[in-house]
Every structure is written in structure tokens, then in C-alpha cells.
Amino acid sequence: MKTTASLPIEFCGIELSSPVINGSGTYDAIASRRIFGDEAFASENFPFAAFVSKTITENPRAGNPPNRIWETPTGMINSIGLPNPGLDGFVEDHLPILAELPVPLIVSVMAETPEGFTRLVERIEETGRASALELNVSCPNVHSGLIVGEQPTETEQLMKHLKGRTELPLIVKLTPNVASPEEVAVAAEAGGADAVSLINTIKATAIDPVSGSPAIGAGSGGLSGPAVRPVALQQVRAIRSRVSIPIIGMGGVTDGESALEFLLAGASLVAVGTENFRDPVAGRRIERELGAELTRRGFDSIGAFCDRPSS
């Protein structure tokens, strides 16, 4: 007798062993292998059903000055500043190691022009090592000065520009810092996006009560963790009613129950972010608990759950 539901699921044509993946920038598979040894890459141990890389840019970035992180009530602020080795460094130094991952790889990329995105997308695709790309569109467009992900039209244009230039599924990572993320999601779908993922972090800061100044070196950053879960669930639900492409839901997932809430709100996959910091194998635990939650509700597979009569 099975005690937990079976979790394999297809996402944009990729076979995944479960709907639990990681949020970009919240797990460094390479560092984990360095610290925890080869165990960390064993297929029975790797905590996610797909691995999303930290966001890669064309040129290397050092990231922001400290403090980069600050704890808040059931959450944290980060202002990491996308440190990364740049496209060349990533392709040469990181991809060969990530090729040994026991799960599909999704590479997160960010650029300031459609052409920059194209170069990132094409080069990553060439390597044959990525199963999908996630587009981090929280950066200002150097031409328009507008933050792409805040503007439905900018987002749609970017997608139209990229679509046809790659065979890989394109996931747009939406920002929560707009009046209507639904509009941006609709535009992303219209432009050809294969999926959307949300939420990225919410603009936030903390004041260090000792110094009286912002506790974050860069002045402000983004909020994540259980504190933001209600905001994330609202946006997932609102977007679900407006688009038909799949949604990767995230924001404060800490256990099977909160993962299930995202699925109930309309997500196809859930991503674990901040919770990884509290436990390197949180993804595995959440996957297990999610299976048990589904079983308790009478579903013997994630497929049965997805096909449930709508309530």
C-alpha cells in the first residue's frame, strides 16, 4: 500500500520527479557539493526536482556591499545584488559541474536589452545543458529606462523578441512590486512565455535600531519568507484566473501544507527559497510532506490532484 501520493509531473515538456523545485538564488548546488561532498548530488538526496541557477548576467558582477541580509518578522530582507561569474564564467566553470546534477537544470538570466537576453539565451541553449530558461526581468531596460517586468508592453515585446530564437521553454519571473501582476502575466503569455514564476521579493528595508540607519548596505532590498506568503498566494490566484500557461508559485513555502496552498491557488510547481537556508534538504522534506497532504485528501497522485473537479 502506498502511503504517500506519487508526485511525478510534466512541466513545459520536462519530466520532473515532483513539483518541488528551488527559487533562483536560494541554493548553490556547487557550494553544497563542495561542503557536503558527492552526497549532495546523489539523486536520492538532491532536494529539488529541478535546479534553478542563480541569475546569470552577461558580465561578471561582484554583488552589493554588506549588509546584504537582515532578519525580519518571519522573513528576511536580501540585497545580494546578483553576484555571478558572468556568462563566460558560468558556461566554462559552472555548467560542467551542473551537468552532473541528477535533475534538469533551469538557468536564470537577466539583461538590460533584448539583445543581451538573446545572447544569454542562445549561448546557454548551445551548451545543450539547460532544460529551460527563467528570465529575470526586474532590471531596467537601458533604452527605455523602465523596469521591464513592471510594464506589460515591455514584457510582451521582450518575449516576442526571444520567442523563435530558442527551442527552450521560457519562464518569466514576475515582480510582485506592481499594482497588477496579472497584467504583466497576461502580456508575458501574449508574447509567447511558456510559464511564469512568482513572486520575486517585495521591496523592503529595515532600520538598524543601533545605528539608526538602514540595516541594508544598499539602503533597501527584497522581502521573502513566510511573511510574504499571503501576498504570493493572492498573486498566484489572480494570475491563474487570467492566463493558461503554468505557474511556478513561491514565497514562504516552508512545509507540505504551504506547498499545497500554492497548488490550490493555481500553481503547477512550487519553489522553495528562504526555507533552504534553514535546512539544506528542506526541498526533500517539503516534497515528502506534500505527498502526505495529497494522500490525506484522497489523491493518489499529483495528476489526480490536478484533474480534481474545480471547487
Binding site: 538564488g25 536560494t26 541554493y27 548553490d28 557550494a31 553544497s32 563542495r34 561542503i35 557536503f36 561532498g37 552526497e39 549532495a40 538526496n45 542563480k54 561582484a62 554583488g63 552589493n64 556591499p65 554588506p66 549588509n67 546584504r68 541580509i69 537582515w70 532578519e71 525580519t72 518578522p73 518571519t74 522573513g75 528576511m76 536580501n78 545580494i80 553576484p83 538598524d208 543601533v210 545605528s211 539608526g212 540607519s213 538602514p214 540595516a215 541594508i216 548596505g217 519568507g225 513566510p226 511573511a227 528562504t274 533552504n276 537556508f277 534553514r278 535546512d279 539544506p280 534538504v281 526533500r284
Partner: protein, 284 residues
Amino acid sequence: MAPDRPTPPFGRRAVEVREAAADGGYRIFTLVDREGPEPLPGQFYMLCEAPEWSSIEGRPYLPRAISYARSTGREGELLLEFLIDDVGPGTKRLGRLEKGDGCWITGPFGNPFSAPREIAESPAGAILVGGGIGIAPLAAFRRSLISKGFPTRTLLGFRDLEHSGAVESLFGCEEVRLAFEDGSSGHHGYVTDLLELLLERDDPGGAIVYSCGPPAMLEAVKKICASAGVPAELALESPMACGFGACFGCAVPRADGNGYLRLCIDGPVVRSEEIATALVGESG
């Protein structure tokens, strides 16, 4: 490639508090770790209380980095001793742990202190310089140096007598000199005064300094050693969300201007000349 440091179990594990007590100004407790490898001096663990870890304010929420001060027993039943300065919600909660309580840990993490021979060709002696809660990793390192018969002198500084309560149990009394900011005993002033005196008076040739303490103290140690031409290793602190390289939160500027270290995996022990400053993230 064989790892150059202990390989911690992948994932957090539940451990139990064997003993807990106040020891002067700091709290001290021992955990029984049945799954982890023997740690090396300078390494740290990420700790949080099990099963709960929060208060009305929703903090502490993330685990906290704590250096071990002593490890006894052997793999399968390691006893790990920690020293806590309760400066905020996380350390307050850890400081309330009682015998029999549960706790989650991951680790050991980070670079240990380097053996003297890895630093200098013919090292003559080690000088350990600790301030406040920074004595914890030095206690572990001193025991290892002394067990190898390496000549070791120890200089420790505290704000007052109360906060030096753990010294006797962790360091014994031999070759340990104390400084107190309030003049309650020993040298009246900073522990870095003692270091300066020592490096001036003695021939510093072959000496290696190992230090841990508040940022301002480490910055002084960095300067003193640089001008005396003495190599130094510093165990730094920075806010850490994960301890295993996942969050990129623990950035410390490199001396060469070439970006940042991740202190949890490239530190917490660094060569003095590797970093631009020990005054990391002092906000304002």
C-alpha cells in the same frame, strides 16, 4: 578530490542539550551530536531551537552561526560546547536552552584555523588574541596547538570580570593573560595593548597571530600585525542566513578589490591580508 575539511551530514539534524549553565556573563551549553564529524578549530555550526524558533515578533527565524568552543568524545557521540553572548533574539533563545531540550544543527561549516606550518616555514610560536565572545573558537584551537606541543601564548580581553567567567574552564590559567576594559583585574585596557607590548618586547620573528573578537579589535590586530610584519589569521563574523554558501549574504570585501568573499565558505577564518577591512557591515 578529498575534501580539506570535515564533511558535514547533508541536511539539518536534531541534537540534544546535554548540559547548560550560565558562566559569568556568557551562557554555555553542550550538545550531543551523534551524526556529525569531528570539527576543526575555527569551524562553526548553524543552530536553531527545535521544534520552535520564533517569538511574537517572528524572530528568531533564521538559524544562527555559533563557533564551537570545545569538542570532546568521538564521532558517533561528539560533545560540542558552545558559548553564547545574548545580544539579540537568536542568542537569547539559544541562551535559554536547558538540559534535555532539543535543537537543530547543521555543520560543521567553514575554514578552520591553519596549522602554523601552513602559514610560515619555521613558525616559532602562536599568539592567540581573543575578545569577548570571540574566545570561543580560540579555546578549541589552543587545545589543539598545546596537544601538539606548539608554543602558544594567549591574550584575552573582556569588558569586565563577569564576562571572563568561562576562561578558567576553557583555557586553564597557563600562558593566558587577561585585559579588562573596566580595569577590574589584569591589564586595564584593551587586549590589543597586550599584543602590541608582546610584539614590541619579544622578537616577533616566527610568531603567528590568531585572533577572534569584535570587528574593531580585529581591525586593530590586523594593523598591529601588518606593521610588525607578523602573519595573522582572523576569525570574522557577518550576518549569515545559511552557513553553506546558499544565500550569498555573508559578503566580506576582498583586499584585492576583486569582489567579496562568502564568509561561510571562504572564512570565517581568513588571512589578515585577504580582506579589505575587518569592519564588515557596520551599518551607518
